[in-house]
Amino acid sequence: MNAQIFHDTAADLAPRKGGTLGKVGIYTVLIIWAFICLFPIYWTATTSFKIAPNVMQGAMIPWVDYQPDWKGWRAIGLSPDTIGTDSTVRDEFLKRFGNSAIVAFSASVLAVALGSLAAYGLSRFSYKWAWMRNNDISFFFLSQLILPPVVLALPFLVLYREVDLLDSRIGLILLYALSVLPIVIWIMKDQFAAIPTELEEAALVDGLSIWGAFLTIILPIALPGMVAAFILSLVLTWNEYFFAALLTSTHATTLPVMVASQTGSQGISWWSMAAISFAAILPLIVIGIVLERYIIKGMAAGAVK
């Protein structure tokens, strides 16, 4: 299960002869699509360095079309000349950023912990609860995936109000963990199923308890899968908007809510919007580039059996 999903070895990468015309076609399409994928990110990054006239002219290339300016970043207090001074917008931004980070991280940890345990149990032991057997229990967990957030949102709004969890990070963490749990269980079931049971049998013979065998032997082997599930959860929860928009107002609002709340007010200041958006997506771009392997591993789980 540590097998590579994509083959990047020298032999795989060595281009084969033949079909030059086809090759040109393939590269053209690939480059066009890469452009489609990357241009909006480039546009956001460059717009954050524009001033009003540049935006109106639709300037494209910094230093050629226009002179980059820190205006957008100054507006959120993150430009070099404002970084040392007090800025309420920056405090606000950092607070939201912190909320997003705490909520996404905690929810992912919770989901991976609960999900891995459940996936391990379901892949190793046979359960029977009322009429439900292993497959039914698995299906129960996975079927949560089709539950649209809107069905839970309004009941939770009322329930959270009653237990004073509205506008709290704990409330969001619980819901986010719930929303990614089926995905985690799906990925982890795949991972555990690939680990031979002889490993635990040997450990049990050696006198380890079942939890001891799980924690010391199985967990380290399944770690790459857990990291994949964790990263995927992190991305999904970091980007979540719907629940955050409904269930938070001042204390626990996350970055997506802040980004969304900027759009309507008094004529859009494009530069600062671009700066906020770019700052919000930057962590994910970094994760996407650095941890691409894990994200793909997570998504490919279940696709290939």
């Binding site: 345990l117 359960y127 069905v151 991305v235 696709a303």
Partner: protein, 370 residues
């Protein structure tokens, strides 16, 4: 999505000698904490009904008692059942977590769905029978949103074709494969809200957005992407596709790489080339993966809301509304949770029926070729 456990089950025979005292302690824990939960809940109910003020500010005490009961239940499994209980302990926390956070709110939601409940008015919840159902029946905007979901879902066919094409190209012998893979993956990482702003608000801006300028350069006099219903819907579809094509692409790519090389080689020896090889070998082999990818994509598509809420707010005239964004506005504008919840419940039932049929159909369609 077949949910079969593929690995062998672990068979452990254990002899537990659990003393009666330990069993009794376990039962005492479960029933004791359950009793405490009931007591706290009862006291709180009495206070709400106005019998007597016990000084509860909110329902937190009941929540804590519930959490206490859940922990006691897990612990008692080990006390009462020993080794078997330890095995239950793997699944029980997750099961309790999901049940408390979905089943309970769903039941509660059913109650709200048949009420008139304006959160900002002091009247509280008023049971109003089937009024909400009647209102839904006569609400053209809701049915319009449901119809929109059909269009949005149908767009997946095109997304799938593009994703398959890209996956095939990434699977070919090309250079810089890693660069392309990362570049293609990035849209999926971005938050839909940021995408709404980056593309929906900024790049599609009529006067100076780059796409609008491109359209003008191509000879479209007055490019406005969100004024006509069809174009607005198309724009939303394109933005959503932009974010989610990588998802299907990665799944299909993983499937393509799992096809044994010998198969395609053998096909080439037999004279099947290009188009023919694709339709007769690759595509049928990819059918199970494709179906999984499409099913998951449909599930995600049915949740579509963030982009619509942030770019068009459902406009023009509800042309881009999804069910979720419609309910979101319904709540935002009137803070009536009753009607919104009923719509959500109806939507859930529709989704369950639709997905069940689809999975049955997919199962039958995919099985014989596997």
């Amino acid at each position: 999505m077949s949910v079969m456990s593929s690995g062998d089950l672990l068979h452990v025979v254990t002899n537990d000698n659990i003393s009666d005292g330990r069993k009794r302690l376990g039962r005492l824990l479960v029933w004791g904490s359950a009793g405490l939960l009931l007591l706290v809940a009862l006291l709180q109910t009495l206070q709400v009904l106005g019998w007597r003020d016990f000084g509860f500010a909110n329902w937190r005490p009941t929540l804590y008692a519930y959490v206490g009961w859940a922990i006691a239940l897990c612990w008692a499994q080990v006390l009462i059942r020993g080794e078997a209980g330890k095995r239950v302990l793997f699944v029980l926390p997750a099961a309790l977590f999901v049940i408390s956070l979905t089943v309970f709110p769903l039941l509660f939601g059913l109650l709200i769905a048949f009420s008139d409940w304006n959160l900002s008015s002091p009247d509280g919840r008023q049971f109003n029978g089937l009024d909400n159902v009647r209102q839904m029946w006569a609400d053209p905007f809701f049915w319009n949103a449901m119809l929109n979901m059909v269009w949005y879902t149908l767009a997946i066919i095109v997304e799938y074709a593009i994703a398959f094409g890209l996956a095939l190209m990434l699977n070919a012998q090309i250079r810089a494969r890693k660069f392309f893979r990362v570049a293609f993956l990035l849209p999926l990482m971005l938050s839909p809200v940021a995408v709404s702003w980056m593309i929906g608000k900024s790049m599609l801006e009529v006067r100076f957005g780059p796409i609008a300028r491109l359209a003008r350069w191509l000879g479209w006099e007055n490019p406005s992407f969100f004024s006509s219903p069809e174009l607005a819907k198309l724009a939303i579809m394109l933005m959503d596709a932009w974010t989610f094509i990588p998802f299907m692409m990665i799944m299909i790519l993983a499937g393509l790489q799992a096809i044994p090389k010998e198969l395609t080689e053998a096909a080439r020896v037999d004279g099947a080339t290009g188009w023919k090889a694709f339709w007769e070998i690759t595509f049928p082999l990819m059918l199970p993966v494709s179906i999984t990818a499409i099913l998951i994509r449909i599930i995600f598509k049915l949740k579509l809301a963030d982009i619509v809420i942030n770019v068009t707010s459902g406009g023009p005239g509800g042309a881009t509304d999804t069910v979720t964004s419609f309910i979101f506005r319904e709540y935002r504008d009137r803070s009536n949770v009753g009607y919104g919840t009923l719509l959500a419940m109806v939507y859930l039932v529709a989704i369950i029926i639709f997905m069940t049929l689809l999975m049955k159909f997919a199962d039958r369609y995919a099985r014989p070729r596997q």
